[in-house]
């Protein structure tokens, strides 16, 4: 049964779809970590807030597309606010302290969401235009899930182009390699960091919105995705676009296939994979070489 082509096709698409969501989440986290040695543990919370904002937007405007446009912006705004109010003043302190603040935010975000939207799970409908099913190599597959894959690929292409072609991209690449060097060149690293941080928040919000019609929206959805995202970052190697892409693909596929092929190990497959990667390559599959 597990080698049936139909099963393989559908399952691979499922894996690809999870991979793309993980990519949207991990890339922002990874690049910010690469630049500032700081990891935002509230990244999952931003994802959750993105989904909830989408819920409210859909209720208000009755359109998924408006939510797709607005909710990630809202999340980016929250991220910007968080940066301005808390992070900016902590720049000179140890990154550990910043990480701890974001950890506190998980608790706050979780209850804030419950206060505003309640504890009962919600869903938003799949947009009309994507509600149908598509035949992929003869197998029925929900069109909306293909849309998620497409979004992921589009973001990947845009980020690649942005990193290679734009000035900000160059600063980011250089900043990941050697931050003090870039600062010494008179480039405003902090501004670049701020922009990258906001972009990361926007992407987390985007992931929240696009996943909302497929996964249900509930308080606590932040943590399950955060752990997976962290594992992607660790496995891929922080700071590396390539690492985020490959890490997402590996984790997405292993998780998707592992759940049904070896269900008794479903909960540990991913962790075991991470441990194995760390044993052989302590800094991830695609470590960024730092010059100090």
């Amino acid at each position: 049964m597990l080698l049936e082509p139909g099963f393989l096709i559908v399952q691979t698409l499922n894996g690809l779809q999870l991979s793309m969501l993980l990519f949207l989440l991990s890339i922002g986290l990874s690049v910010v970590f690469g630049m500032m040695n700081f990891i935002n543990l509230a990244h999952g919370t931003l994802y959750m807030v993105g989904a909830y904002l989408a819920l409210s937007t859909v209720r208000w405007f009755d359109s998924f597309w408006v939510a797709l446009a607005l909710a990630p912006l809202g999340v980016a705004l929250i991220g910007a606010l968080f940066y301005a109010v808390l992070l900016r003043h902590m720049q000179r302190q140890s990154p550990m302290r910043q990480v701890l603040v974001t950890f506190g935010l998980i608790f706050v975000g979780f209850d804030a969401v419950r206060m505003v939207w309640g504890v009962l799970p919600h869903t938003i409908p799949v947009p009309e235009t994507l509600a149908g099913r598509v035949y992929v190599l003869g197998e029925v597959y929900p069109a909306y899930r293909l849309f998620i894959i497409a979004i992921g690929l589009a973001v990947l292409a845009a980020l690649y182009a942005g990193l290679e072609r734009t000035r900000l991209g160059a600063v980011v690449r250089a900043g990941v390699d050697d931050r003090t060097m870039v600062a010494a060149l008179g480039i405003d690293v902090e501004r670049a960091f701020f922009l990258v941080f906001c972009l990361g928040c926007w992407l987390a919000g985007l992931a929240g919105v696009v996943s909302a019609p497929v996964f249900s929206i509930f308080p606590g959805m932040d943590m399950s995705i955060l752990i997976l995202t962290l594992i992607v970052v660790v496995v891929g190697g922080p700071g590396s676009l390539k690492g985020a892409v490959i890490g997402s693909l590996v984790i997405g596929m292993v998780d998707t296939y592992g759940q049904v092929v070896a269900p008794e190990f479903a909960r540990v497959t991913i962790y075991a994979l991470m441990a194995a990667v760390l044993l052989v390559r302590p800094h991830g599959l695609f470590p960024v070489r730092r010059t100090h």
Binding site: M115, Y271, A275
Partner: protein
């Protein structure tokens, strides 16, 4: 360097006063809370050895808490061992788990270590959640407390058990105090401050970190064993990330790098949790009792405030006030 703790005596005095008052005057609820504080103080002090001294910020310390609790449950319920023997075995199990996990975890530092330990905690949680032989998600019940009949006491009595946990907490405090004041403790602090230099001086830092990780894991397992006896019940939740998070919050709120601080953080957090999750508290300050279900919100804000405003934790703040007071007095004299 460790060991400069201006509040050791006052803290010990406060503890004696609290214990005495509790033994003679406390009701059931006070004893429950005291025992919980003592157990979490042990747990927090063990984490403080890692976080405050060795500089290894772990978000998976609950793994050892759960391992110790489950080991205690298994040895008492399945094998019928008396509670003290099960505790010893549980500490051994937690240490063994820490040794295996530590080999992986200490290879990486800083934020990586956070992520690895977070994953470790979730792995242990997931294991117990699934393991049918340990009751899976329903957990295990019927864990006995030590038999103190020889002393004419009954550990099932809340005040006896809370006294027992307080004694255990003091014992752990003394043990850890000896460790952090020893050359080994100084070496952990040195590794925290400047790892490459310590390595260049010929100190096998990995082995030291592993030793600290194992010791912290073992004591975390001891706390887990006590919580199993305290509640008489274990469940996978003991290993959940929020437990690791809460104990880290205790250490940071109380003040990293100070054992008394960690214990103080445990006391503050346990009390805060009890009060904030009680509707009566909110009504008493003129707000809706419904807020009780959002106590994590307040706790999160409190935590952020402590990290932002009192980087050295409540204990650090108290200690600096005490120092200032002493200076003033000296000047006056």
């Amino acid at each position: 360097m460790p060991g400069r703790d201006p509040l050791h005596l006052p803290a010990a005095a406060a503890l004696v006063v609290a214990a005495g008052a509790a033994w003679y005057g406390g009701d059931f609820f006070l004893h429950e809370v005291l025992a919980e504080i003592a157990i979490f103080a042990i747990f927090a002090m063990s984490l403080d050895l890692l976080v405050g001294y060795a500089g290894l910020v772990s978000l998976g310390h609950a793994a050892f808490f759960a391992a110790g609790a489950y080991a205690t449950a298994s040895f008492t319920v399945f094998l019928g061992w008396p509670a003290p023997a099960a505790t010893v075995a549980a500490v051994g199990c937690a240490a063994a788990l820490a040794a295996v996990a530590g080999v992986f975890a200490i290879r990486v530092g800083g934020v990586f270590f956070i992520m690895i330990t977070l994953a470790l905690g979730q792995m242990v949680y997931a294991y117990f959640f699934k393991a049918r032989e340990f009751g899976a998600d329903d957990g295990m019940a019927g864990i006995p407390r030590p038999d103190l009949a020889a002393l004419g006491l009954d550990a099932a009595e809340p005040h006896v058990f809370s006294a027992l946990t307080l004694i255990a907490a003091v014992a752990v405090w003394v043990l850890l105090l000896v460790v952090v004041r020893s050359p080994f403790g100084a070496m952990l602090v040195a590794i925290h401050r400047n790892e490459s230099r310590v390595r260049a001086l010929g100190c096998p830092v990995q082995r030291y970190k592993l030793a600290a990780f194992v010791l912290a894991g073992a004591i975390g397992g001891f706390a887990g064993s006590l919580i199993a006896q305290h509640t008489g019940f274990v469940s996978p939740d003991l290993g959940f990330w929020t437990v690791s998070g809460e104990v880290l919050i205790m250490v940071i709120v109380g003040g990293m790098g100070s054992l008394v601080g960690a214990a103080l953080g445990a006391a503050v957090l346990v009390l805060l949790r009890h009060e904030l999750s009680d509707g009566a508290f909110w009504e008493a300050i003129g707000l809706s009792a419904d807020l009780a279900s959002y106590w994590q919100f307040v706790m999160g804000l409190f935590f952020i405030a402590v990290v932002l405003l009192a980087g050295d934790g409540l204990y650090g703040r108290l200690a600096s006030i005490a120092r200032r007071g002493r200076r003033l007095r000296r000047r006056g004299a």
